[in-house]
Amino acid sequence: MNSFREVVYILERRDGRLRGLVYGGWVLATDACLAFLLVLISTCLGRPLPTWAMPLLAGAGLVAAAAAFVVGARARRPRARLLLEVDARLGLDARLSSLLELEERGGPRLFFERLFRDVVRIAPDWRRALRIPRRLPFLAAATVLVMALALTLPLLSPHRTRSGDAGLQPSPSSAFAPAAADSDDASEAGAADDAVASGLTTVDSPPPATPETHTSQRTLGEILSELRPALASSSAAQAPGSDGATDPESEDADAALRQELEKLQDRLEAGGQPSAEDIQTLRDAAASPDLASTIEAAAASSDMDALRQTISQLLSSSAAPSAPTTDSTRSDVQSGDDAESTADATMDSPSPPGAPADDASSGASAATKGDAAPSAAPNETPIFESGVGDVAPVAAPLVVGESGELSSYITSGVPIEQASDASGQGATWILSPGQVQSLLSARDLPAGAAEIIRDYFQRITEETP
């Protein structure tokens, strides 16, 4: 410490910097809160912010904080008050302030020298007099916390949190069974589907599938939340009022797959051998684990006939669901005797693993059967008749979901306790894997959605003791 003027200069500069930091901290914290609010509102409204919004907010906040820092650093406090504060913090008993008084107003040099000696003796570490304000770490923590919340909020889907609702946790099998029981009124089901479709169109894209979400512990609500975007896009594409446009990506994928299958079929017809990639393609195209295992077995035993048959089935099944709209499908179901008879045949003889052709061919017709309300139509065989002898289909009520009434075929079904097996949903699934597979094919679900459902049932099947 060379002189009193130097002391005052350094103290003022440090005080200005600290004040600038506090000002900047306030601005940053405000900016973070603003960002959080925007993200929150956009999430609630279902309209995600554009990708440039967060960088823009962060950039604007940084610029404003820099400006606030400059303003704070330049807005100096009165020296008298600053020095009195320093005196109080260092225990100098107003010595610095008195020195300033002597400096500015004049006074005995004797007093000045004596006071300055005291200051140096009492507080050699006077630079620490102006400590970092407590608000600063608080503001920094608040900024980081709120910004982190703003960044993570979009990753947390609000639908996931609602999946724990009791009304959205029936067993997977029961979710399908009442579809038949409740779908005697096709128009009501169609209306429910439309409600689902309209209510779910607010979600733009399905959340990314993570390993954690592919566990058998996932509830039906979680799966539904993943399916909703796909269902929405599918329903929107099939809505009567729409121009019939479908998802171009899924169309392209289907066309490519079909092309691959046709090429493979041609090659096999010409007496060629399938490569490992071909087998993989077939497995990917297989709609059920049973079919996949059949393909593997045929490939292992070089059973070209079985492979060709499988390919033709796959080609026919991939071509089938793209045709009519949901409403037209329902009307077809109600009046389609051929479909009913095919479905009856399929239901009477559950598909064994070794007979993939039956299983696959039953796809669309079995599903339409499921829609055709077996409990309501006395001449029709219920969808669970063959496999679920002791499970009584019940008419489950419509369940009110987050955006209206959910279709009963998804949200309600046979209560678990009505199943004969004490193991509940797993046992119910084991009894009717073919029906589920058929429903998946007939429901005209997008490939991704069907894959998720299939994966789910595959997992709970594996975990069933």
Binding site: A80, D93, A94, R95, S97, S98, L110, F111
Partner: protein, 327 residues
Amino acid sequence: MTTEVSLTRAFDAFSRLERALGEVIVGQKDVTRRTLIALLARGNVLLEGVPGLGKTMLVRTLSHALDVPFSRIQFTPDLMPTDIIGTNILRETGGDRRFEFSPGPLFASIVLADEINRATPKTQSALLEAMEERTITVAGTTYALAEPFIVLATQNPIEMEGTYPLPEAQLDRFLLKIAVEYPSLDELVRITTLNTEAADIAFPAPVATAQDVLDARSVVRALPIAAGLREHVARLVLATHPASAHAPAMVRDFVQYGASPRAAIAMILAAKAHAFLSGEVHVRPSDVEAVFLPALNHRIILNFKGEAEGASTTMILRDVWQKVPVL
């Protein structure tokens, strides 16, 4: 010009003076120090306390220790102004008759106005000019009083019958109002020992001169006080005004008139004197605190509500001190 030597001499003189007073006045350190503060700050003191607490003894001891002219005026209801300031008397010298001024007891350096509230307001007001301007005007002629000059008045808070409370204007001219409290047990034992064994009270020999007091006063005036503390004093004084924005609720409720600007001056001067007596060359916040109550206690006038509810100025001022911090 304050030099190291003059500063040391001033410090030493008042250290001796304080010690000398302490040898006779048992306990009452605050009273002794505040009396010296008033002497250093060129002010007057109003000592308030019941009889027998040593108020008069303190003033007499101070006059002995300082070796300056001392006079005592016992205020009574029939005391006239001329009795204290003096009067012109007709004097005949060699056949020549002329009026000649005969100075009253006020012409002294230390004046003890004992039981000042027993005199009529007319007589009390005769002190005003002397206390403030250090002059006395008689028959159109103004006489300057010798420095140092200090009035130490005493008044008895009980036995109020037949007394004349001091007017506000006169109260404001006292730098400090010092409440003389009862001594403690040990102090009382020592007082009885000192006053019952010796043949007479041994007043101290002079330990300082009038010039020492004047030199010390110049040093005290030169002591720096921080601008922040000066502002604090101003805020404190303003806070005693019920109409002020700084005033706490208690002041707004119970106070009719707050302290005057003279009170702020008194506080700063008294704080400087307190710092000087503490051996410091600058005013500290603790110095302001030490003189806050005695400097403002007699300058606050309660309203009817305050009187009716038994509010005291001390209580109100303590509230003001708490509500108006330094920073």
